[in-house]
């Protein structure tokens, strides 16, 4: 009889990763179903590129699984996954310039009545115009809903610095999208 993994906490599932092959597979599947979406969203919006996001996300999940053999207990699985993904994104950032300039921002034609997908692409494009720090702060706060304390812990910054970064990122994105937001509000 299979274990009720859906009722397990993240920490309990993490311990199951050390178990038998079958237990590890089931536990990993459960953890994946809980956190993959958020981690992938982080990778995608921070890198701004689907292919890069795919690579980083896969690598992050594999590193996470490997970590189970080395780490005794893990209380905050989501935080750990985000940290792994962030480190990979930082490595990626070192190797490749990933932010565009505002001048390069060429969204869809300036028509009224944007489709949902267009709106989402607009914000994705606007995010690409931000530096990594601003982009990350905005994604972690607005997308993931992390508290300022959690973001500060993750990024090793002060809460005040994180708050300021989120505010500035929001202003930048708002300015980039301003013409479109104006249309939307009309």
């Amino acid at each position: 009889m299979s274990k009720p993994y859906s009722k397990y906490s993240d920490s309990e599932l993490f311990l199951e990763l050390k178990g038998s092959r079958k237990e590890a597979e089931s536990a990993f599947a459960e953890l994946y179903s809980r956190h993959a979406q958020r981690i992938y969203a982080y990778c995608l919006r921070v890198t701004g590129n689907t292919e890069d996001a795919n690579d980083i996300f896969q690598e992050a999940m594999l590193k996470f699984y490997d970590a189970a053999a080395k780490i005794e207990n893990l209380e905050n699985v989501r935080g750990f996954l985000l940290r792994v993904a962030r480190n990979l994104c930082l490595n990626f950032k070192r190797d490749k310039k990933i932010n565009l300039s505002i001048e390069n921002f060429q969204p869809y034609s300036h028509d009224r009545g944007y489709e949902q997908k267009e709106l989402l692409d607009l914000i994705a494009g606007a995010l690409e115009c931000l530096t990594f720090d601003y982009r990350e702060a905005f994604v972690l706060r607005q997308y993931h809903g992390l508290s300022y304390r959690e973001i500060a812990d993750l990024t090793d910054e002060s809460i005040a610095a994180v708050k300021n970064r989120v505010w500035r990122a929001k202003e930048k994105i708002k300015n980039i999208l301003s013409p479109y937001l104006e249309d939307i509000t009309k």
């Binding site: 709106l119 914000i123 509000t185």
Partner: protein, 481 residues
């Protein structure tokens, strides 16, 4: 600080009351600021929509599992990832649709089951016992047939406060030396003649002999045994064929062991029931156990409710007229948990009730509370609908009806209850339903634990909404005085 930043902080973490008032005053007069406010709200909504629209592609998921040497998950698994993250937060399930169904609806089902059980218990305990035997008429008819099979019927002692008049009349009848016997049908039609109410009879000792009733539970009387009287004058307990079975009417089922009828016959023949039964000191007998043959005794309280195994334990009875309860509420909508930051602060989800108790069953209370109540509604941007969720702390007030069921106490001092509240908030009406247990902890102090369901009705932009599945637990402490 610019108003733009104040708006950001207002939407992001909230601002203090004075700043909020200042902001709203400025918003009321400044159209440009209202546009800025709208832009920031839209930005937030778009970010949320973008987040919800993203999920790892199937080939990426397959790549991860393949790299680890695991079985490649199905498309369904992958498509469920976003749904699980969105719907259940960290409670997603990969164990199939049945498990998903149970996880999603378990709370609802449990509330429904418990509410059904309590409702059934209320109905059951308020019904006339023995309805399964058919109505009294049929029993009387059987009595007329005078069948010997009646000797398997149990004796039922019931608690009845209101039969004193009948008993008095009975006492008068028996005291006058009515030895002629009572026909079953006539007894059925004239309960004056067929009820032996021991307690009431004891009030008329000279006339009817006495088997006094045991008084217990807040002065609530264990009233007399109702026994059928037969009219044959047959004193032989082995001959059960001769007595007509007489039954009390009053729609309370009195089923007589024919053996006891014989004692009643003796009673009718001038002996007190105690004498007829050879009981030396019948006053010492609790009437619940008044069964000279020691079998088939079933007790029914005066209210018609069946007494519990612990009926005599006063722990189940709340003598106080007033009560104050303070409780914490942990009610949430599982489908919104991942989108909302629920407050864990006890004071943010608490309720105070002042209760007046009409009796040991019914009460009415005035309630006041503060609670984070999850709401989900649709906002429209450029003609497109966006899902929006919020979890504001709302003050609420209400009037409640409380039903306690001491008669079906599970254990001593643990009394089931149900409570229905109707009230209001600043944004719309609210209804709440609790069902659970009140546990006597110390003297007049009781612990309260219950399942709770809440429904809030509100309006956003002219559209009416109601909260979805706000289910959870409540726990607190109650003091009676």
């Amino acid at each position: 600080m610019s108003y733009s930043k104040i708006i950001h902080e207002y939407l992001d973490t909230g601002v203090d009351g004075s700043t909020e008032e200042m902001l709203f005053a400025e918003l009321a007069s400044d159209e440009a600021l209202r546009s800025e406010f709208n832009r920031q709200v839209q930005l937030h909504l778009i970010a949320q929509s973008d987040m919800n629209s993203i999920s790892p592609p199937m080939d990426v998921t397959s790549g991860v599992f393949k790299s680890l040497g695991f079985e490649i998950p199905t498309n369904e698994f992958n498509s469920n990832i976003a749904t699980k993250a969105a719907v259940a937060g960290s409670a997603g399930s990969a164990n199939g649709p049945m498990m998903t169904f149970w996880k999603k609806h378990f709370s609802t089902i449990m509330v429904a089951v418990i509410a059904s059980l309590i409702t059934a218990a209320i109905f059951y305990t308020s019904q006339e016992f023995g309805s399964g035997f058919g109505d009294n008429q049929s029993l009387a008819g059987q009595a007329d047939n005078n069948t010997s099979s009646k000797n398997s019927f149990p004796v039922i002692s019931s608690f009845e406060d209101s039969d004193s008049q009948q008993a008095n009349e009975f006492a008068a009848v028996s005291g006058s030396g009515n030895k002629s016997g009572i026909d079953g049908n006539s007894a059925f039609n004239n309960r004056v003649n067929n009820i032996i109410n021991n307690r009431s009879a004891s009030n008329n000792r000279g006339a009817g002999g006495r088997i006094s009733g045991q008084s217990s539970r807040n002065g609530r009387s264990f009233a007399g045994n109702r026994q059928a009287a037969s009219g044959s004058g047959d004193n032989d307990p082995d001959k059960h064929l001769s007595g007509n079975l007489s039954l009390a009417s009053n729609s309370r089922q009195v089923i007589a062991d024919i053996s006891s009828l014989n004692s009643a016959n003796s009673y009718a023949n001038g002996q007190s029931p105690a004498q007829a039964l050879g009981i030396k000191d019948p006053t010492r007998l609790a009437q619940n156990s008044f069964n000279p043959y020691g079998t088939n005794v079933i007790s029914i309280p005066a209210s018609g409710r069946r007494s519990s195994l612990f009926d005599d334990l006063v722990d189940n009875i709340d003598n106080t007229k007033w009560g104050v309860t303070v409780r914490g509420i942990s009610v949430s909508d599982a489908s919104l948990n991942n989108r909302l930051a629920n407050s864990n602060n006890w004071l943010d989800n608490a309720n105070v009730e002042v209760l007046y108790k009409f009796d040991q069953y019914w009460g009415m209370s005035v309630d006041f509370g503060r609670e984070n109540i999850a709401q989900a509604f649709t906002g429209t941007i450029a003609g497109k609908a966006y899902d929006f969720a919020q979890n504001p702390a709302l003050y609420w007030y209400g009037i409640s009806g409380l039903l306690r069921l001491p008669d079906i106490a599970i254990l001593s001092g643990i009394v089931p209850f149900a409570k229905l509240t109707i009230g209001g908030t600043a944004i719309g009406p609210i209804g709440r339903f609790q069902t659970g247990l009140r546990v006597r902890f110390y003297e007049n102090i009781r612990l309260v634990a219950a399942l709770e369901s809440t429904g809030l009705f509100y309006n956003v932009d002219g559209i009416n909404y109601s909260t979805g599945k706000l289910l959870g637990f409540t726990y607190g402490i109650s003091y009676g005085f």
